[in-house]
Amino acid sequence: METIDKIKQQIAENHILLYMKGSPKLPSCGFSAQASQALMSCGEQFAFVDILQNPDIRAELPAYADWPTFPQLWVDGELVGGCDIILEMFQQGELQPLIKETAEKYPQEDA
């Protein structure tokens, strides 16, 4: 499968999806660590892709997303933003309802 199709499929199938460096339990970048921490605090399941293990995605996603850096949070098929946006939304109390509503919208799946 072409990388771009793989990306589209991941975004379509995972309604809460974090592209990051490393994993939420073992992040390889301070920004990815903060982003996944905030997302975990929302208390819903989410999917993640470790871009260090997927260099093709790391190379192609920025152009597709029109977003130059990682992490990237995708919710319900749309890019929410990177680390600073995730944290600011979390601190303003905007991230939690977005994540919760999305999790409730797709109850049969693993988000």
Partner: protein
């Protein structure tokens, strides 16, 4: 300092900021001394009025597109309108007006 100055001048030119900080945070990362790879930007401009965070960040990323592609590894962005900034920190206090100093005419 070249990349930092370049970032500053581009942001001033495009956003006419009320407040701008460009901070080189590269020393906090696993890079050689003197590197210019990791930056933090605090940008306050009325041009962000009514714009969602993602669109503000995209506007900054677009202005720094070349730098992000070739030079900058990480760019932390904190973007505010004038009103948001004042609400957060009350703005920095204004410096007092000049009272004439040594040239003041004493009558």
């Amino acid at each position: 300092m070249n990349i930092q100055i370049n970032i500053e001048s581009k942001l001033i030119e495009h956003f006419d900021p009320a407040h701008l900080e460009v901070i080189n945070e590269s020393f906090q990362h696993n890079v050689p001394a003197g590197a210019e790879t990791h930056f933090k930007v605090v940008l306050v401009t009325p041009k962000f009025d009514g714009k969602r965070l993602i669109n503000r960040h995209r506007a900054v990323n677009a202005v720094l597109k070349e730098e992000l592609a070739e030079q900058i590894h990480a760019l932390a962005l904190h973007t505010y309108t004038d009103i948001e900034w004042e609400g957060l920190y009350g703005g920095a206090p204004s410096s007092p007006a000049c009272r004439g100093g040594s040239k003041r005419k004493v009558s």
